[in-house]
């Protein structure tokens, strides 16, 4: 990074740290924060969509649809996150390979399950063994994102279902009295009004989602926890920048990062609550109305 970094052994403390914190391994550490942000940026809207679908299905007039919506939320909410993560990723990965195996290798005679091994033909391997490493990493990341979305979608579904029921019945009846069809009542009256009731629950889920991102580490993805442990471990002079066990400082850094991130989230969510309360038949909305009149 800096010109003076060529011989770390001769550097003063300040320069040593300047070089140490800008070496290639640390850049990978900094990049891994982007992995966390990317996970959040993709997972949050997808979970919200899953949740919206689940909530709408749970309210549906068609019974099988209702069963699907309710079973999904009840099942995912009832299983510990970690169990679901470890189990679902494995199952999903094997399901993809199994389906591809059935399609591309119909003549295969050997059993796929041999003891503890799950062996499909080479052409069905996902990703392909010859694929470059970044494809393997992207595939793992996509699996993780999908699993996060399913887990947090179930929580969102439950919150949105409750929020839909919290919208005053009189609002919907009035709409019906105006001759709106059920779909119109849903999209024009119910959905715009439910967000304010959903927000406290959704903001909770958002904070829990942020705090669940270190689970990526368990899934073998090189996230910030992986690099904090890797870089913090004690290093002998086999490395250019030897140091004792600094895991304490690295994990402290992660702690500060997560605290700051959740704090900023809270501030943004508080502002959003004020905005969404505007003109609503809730206590906060009522207060805004009074304050404006006074």
């Amino acid at each position: 990074m800096f010109g003076f970094c060529t011989d770390p052994d001769t550097l003063s403390t300040l320069r040593w740290f300047a070089c140490y914190l800008t070496n290639g391994a640390h850049f990978l550490f900094y990049q891994s924060f982007l992995v966390v942000f990317a996970l959040l940026a993709i997972t949050a809207p997808v979970s919200l969509a899953f949740g919206f679908g689940a909530a709408a299905a749970s309210r549906a007039r068609i019974a099988p649809l209702r069963w699907i919506g309710k079973t999904y939320t009840a099942m995912v909410r009832g299983v510990p996150d970690i169990v679901f993560f470890l189990f679902f990723i494995l199952v999903f990965d094997q399901a993809i390979e199994y389906l591809r195996h059935r399609i591309v290798c119909p003549d295969w005679t050997e059993p796929i399950r041999q003891g503890a091994n799950f062996l499909v033909c080479d052409a069905a391997r996902t990703p392909q063994g010859a694929a470059p490493q970044w494809v393997h990493e992207l595939y793992g990341f996509a699996l993780a994102v999908f699993t996060y979305a399913i887990v947090f979608g179930a929580f969102c579904g439950n919150v949105l279902y409750g929020a839909m029921r919290a919208v005053p019945r009189a609002q919907l009846e009035t709409a019906e009295a105006y001759g709106m069809r059920p779909a119109q009542v849903f999209w024009r009256i119910l959905v715009p009004q439910m967000w304010i009731y959903a927000l406290p629950g959704l903001s909770n889920i958002w904070l829990i989602l942020i705090k669940a991102t270190p689970l990526l580490f368990l899934l073998g993805i090189e996230d910030i926890v992986f690099w904090a442990r890797e870089l913090g471990g004690s290093r002998t002079s086999a490395y250019q920048y030897p140091h004792p066990d600094w895991r304490f400082w690295y994990f402290l850094g992660l702690l500060v990062f997560y605290l700051a991130f959740t704090r900023v989230s809270e501030i943004v969510l508080d502002r959003l609550t004020v905005r969404l309360s505007h003109g609503q038949a809730t206590m906060a909305g009522e207060e805004q109305r009074r304050a404006a009149r006074a």
């Binding site: 070496n23 290639g24 391994a25 850049f27 990978l28 940026a41 993709i42 809207p45 997808v46 503890a116 091994n117 799950f118 062996l119 080479d122 391997r125 996902t126 990703p127 392909q128 063994g129 010859a130 694929a131 470059p132 490493q133 494809v135 393997h136 992207l138 595939y139 990341f141 996509a142 994102v145 999908f146 979305a149 073998g220 090189e222 442990r229 890797e230 471990g233 004690s234 290093r235 002998t236 002079s237 086999a238 490395y239 250019q240 920048y241 030897p242 004792p244 066990d245 895991r247």
Partner: protein
């Protein structure tokens, strides 16, 4: 966005499916200097990186390095996440039942204890070792209480903070650690364990012949010994 990612992955898959199948994925731990570690540039480095690249060059293979935690390194090989284990893995009969090994590229080594003081109780105390290593199996056989950790660094940290009385691991890993820490020292007698270090491959994999041939040629022209001396010091055992 998810679909974009997935379809990008699918496109990449389609694009690479036509590539030659001789891409060999080399699985390593990246946490066991000087055997293998992630260097300051964030790349896999160490004796096994140098060795692996040379073996691939001699066997005319295109190789790529993949990191994997030690405790799941064998299951991930058998399930096809990578094609070889090159991670300081000693050849043992138990492992040979699950995977195949090439011939050894490092001669049988000695394992040593490292502790804070000379009078550490190696027979009845608490001894730290990495999970699923021959050293952990050995400690379990002695009267000592075995304390297992996922990474080598954590086993040493356990001794530094007093959680364990001593740590037991390959001497080539522990000796530099002890030499650079004034508090730590090698204690007790070294123990000869394992049948040397070799590459692990899936059972019946054709690559074994290619790697055995490459190791033979490196043993024959002395480059393997040069490499061992370069990474493990002048006193290291050679072929």
């Amino acid at each position: 966005m998810k679909t974009i990612l997935l379809s990008a992955a699918a496109l990449a898959l389609a694009a690479t499916a036509s590539m030659a199948q001789d891409m060999v994925r080399m699985g390593t731990e990246g946490a066991y200097p000087p055997y293998n570690f992630i260097n300051d540039d964030g790349e896999v480095d160490g004796f096994e990186r140098a060795l692996g690249d040379e073996l691939c060059a001699r066997a005319d293979l295109t190789c790529e390095w993949v990191l994997n935690d030690w405790d799941s390194i064998i299951p991930n090989l058998t399930s096809g996440n990578y094609d070889t284990i090159i991670a300081g893995m000693s050849i043992t009969a138990e492992r040979d039942e699950v995977i195949d090994f090439t011939q050894a590229y490092i001669p049988p080594e000695e394992s040593v204890y490292v502790a804070l003081s000379d009078d550490a109780d190696l027979e009845g105390g608490v001894i730290a070792a990495q999970t699923n290593t021959i050293q952990a199996a050995y400690v379990a056989e002695t009267g000592a209480t075995l304390l297992e950790f996922a990474t080598p660094d954590e086993t040493v940290a356990a001794v530094r903070n007093g959680e364990a009385d001593a740590v037991f691991a390959q001497g080539q890993y522990l000796e530099p650690v002890a030499a650079e820490d004034a508090d730590l020292a090698v204690v007790g007698a070294p123990v000869a364990l394992g049948g040397g270090v070799g590459l692990g491959l899936r059972e019946g994999d054709d690559l074994i012949a290619a790697f055995n041939g490459a190791i033979d040629s490196m043993k024959a022209d002395g480059t393997l010994n040069t490499l061992i001396l370069e990474w493990f010091g002048e006193d290291a055992a050679t072929w």
